[in-house]
Symmetry: C2
Subunit: 359 residues, 2 copies
């Protein structure tokens, strides 16, 4: 079976090279005589895989030793609670920027554990843009300020990281981590579900400044306790061993592409191909405001729901799959994460053009 | 590379057939043109994989519709907190039987959320046996009573499920789920980390009586909220899609072995081969008391630490690997889960015999 171009928002397309290595090593990793899936997480062989993966994360994101790198189960949704449980213990107040359903869910979840305030929101505008922010808008007494750097469903991205002064900035980077360079030291904590640019679904990557550790609430479950997990090297209990191994294979591939600095211009070019086409199209329109456009998720529509559905169906037949927009927004969405080759993006653009000619 | 016999306690050996299928389908599952790892969890193709896996769990364990079947991230350790957060809201009291480090950890974790009492403990005896229990020992006002049906580290197993009257019985079955028939209706809730008899590490299977749902504490994180997860079909957020697919492949293999009823006599025979040898050996001694012996984890030692280490090393050279006991107990442990073929157990017995002759 020929592989398709898979524009799914996550879980999503992965580097073929990583999948080929996984297939080859499935019955025996190296000289071990067993699959990585079958290895004790305490074994020397697995410890090496794990350490190498952590080193790759540190290398690709330029993370200093003053930050912990954790691999935790429960996805980004688990971290919605964990952020509050681990940090909301000073003033008990946190500031959230509401730029989408996931940002909003994070705020609601934090509200279980303290006071989560909405600093700014684009909810009334269908989350089509990132609201303008200034330092004065943030509460200097807040335990943290929270943003979602890229909003998967709406196809928006912060073009600038807001200045929150001395208040630690926490960022959900689930849908654009490793896609562009970020200065980790601007953040108190970063987290991301793995299933977009990191690897397969099954864990969240957490990067947190170590001086922020140890503030957790008494009710924090052990598996969400950042301090404890840092002390245990993410192995308080059995980690999702295979998902972490796969993430390592994907990051090795990324390293070969020149790392985050190498892939960023490629990602920009991929996005530009689609936005350039959309901006001149008479049939398709880009959804996100120009200055808030994501380079990972490109949202667009015809304005006619039946025609949208016809397009998605026709594209699928051409091996351009999972282009249907999120069920809450309709329209189309092309998720073009790191592993989506530029050829896939060109094929989509060409097909959109052909479809436009015919309609 | 030839495959070894892997006696690791978890993650642990898996059916070769499941691994071969996974390798074959790695770059394209069926006609999908993508790996299962790359599939949206909302896609039709993945929904079918997921539904089939849940149906296999229900079929193999004979679970009625009055019980929810959940696939949750965070492993069994996550459920140590979840059990209390979801159930400890009536009298706020729970009864725990302390039969090992994991039972003890579960009790400590529950203590964050209410009063967790130790009903009985074999801690002082190095957890070599399951304490005798009677209905009178349990508090009839407790929200639940908690047991660990099989204790991985010590190689012990309950030969009988205790009678707790009307109080719901909660069981951690991490290391012997699917290895022998249990009457699910005797339990209020059952949970198990996946990485022994279910599939790869990365989730916990939770089976819970639906009339017990909806009692969770306000501080329960969404990802540990059983009621919410049941409503969302375990897909509140992205589940660990690939680990669930692999579990499905392993359960299909189990089904071919005649299901739990078919594998149980094989498991008994495998354990008997080792215990029969140990009971007549002059060099090796079984650790667990006879009436508490596990059929999944067989613990033994020579009484001489250096000799234990020599044995483990010599066995490894023969392709009999991961026989070292848990770091807290020393000695040896042979974990012989469903996927360990009887040939592997015989090879171990023969090697022990040879080693004994030479020492």
């Amino acid at each position: 079976m020929e592989r398709v171009y898979n524009f799914a928002a996550g879980p999503s397309t992965m580097p073929v090279e990583a999948l080929e290595t996984a297939a080859r090593e499935m019955l025996s990793f190296g000289e071990s005589g067993m699959s990585v899936m079958e290895m004790s997480h305490r074994s020397k062989a697995y410890q090496e895989i794990f350490s190498e993966t952590e080193a790759l994360v540190r290398d690709l994101m330029h993370i200093p030793e003053s930050y912990a790198v954790l691999f935790l189960q429960g996805g980004a949704t688990g971290q919605f609670a964990a952020v509050a449980m681990n940090l909301l213990t000073g003033s008990g107040k946190a500031d959230y920027v509401d730029t989408g359903v996931f940002a909003h869910n994070a705020l609601v979840e934090a509200g279980k554990y303290g006071t989560a305030r909405t600093v700014a929101s684009s909810r009334e505008e269908g989350y089509r843009r990132i609201p303008a922010l200034s330092r004065e808008m943030f509460d200097p007494e807040a335990d943290y300020c929270y943003i979602t750097t890229n909003n998967t469903i709406y196809g928006t991205r912060y073009s600038q990281i807001p200045d929150t002064g001395a208040v630690p900035l926490v960022a959900d980077m689930s849908s654009n981590i490793l896609s562009q360079p970020y200065d980790v030291e601007k953040f108190g904590a970063i987290f991301a579900g793995a299933q977009k640019n990191i690897g397969p679904a099954g864990f969240a990557l957490v990067v947190v400044r170590r001086d922020l550790l140890g503030r957790q609430m008494a009710c924090t479950p052990q598996i969400l306790n950042w301090k404890l997990m840092d002390e245990k090297g993410s192995m308080l209990n059995t980690p999702p061993t295979y998902a972490i191994y796969m993430a390592g294979l994907c990051m090795k591939w990324l390293k070969k592409q020149g790392g985050v600095e190498g892939i960023y211009p490629v990602n920009c070019e991929k996005a530009q191909i689609l936005y350039d086409y959309l901006d001149q199209s008479k049939l398709f329109k880009a959804v996100a405001d120009k200055d808030s456009r994501s380079i990972m998720n490109v949202t667009f529509r015809t304005g006619n729901e039946d025609l949208d559905a016809e397009f998605v169906k026709a594209a699928t037949k051409q091996g351009l799959v999972s282009l249907k927009g999120h069920r809450s927004t309709g329209g189309m969405r092309a998720s073009i994460y790191n592993a989506m080759p530029i050829e896939g993006v060109r094929a989509l653009r060409d097909f959109m053009n052909k479809f436009e000619m015919e309609h």
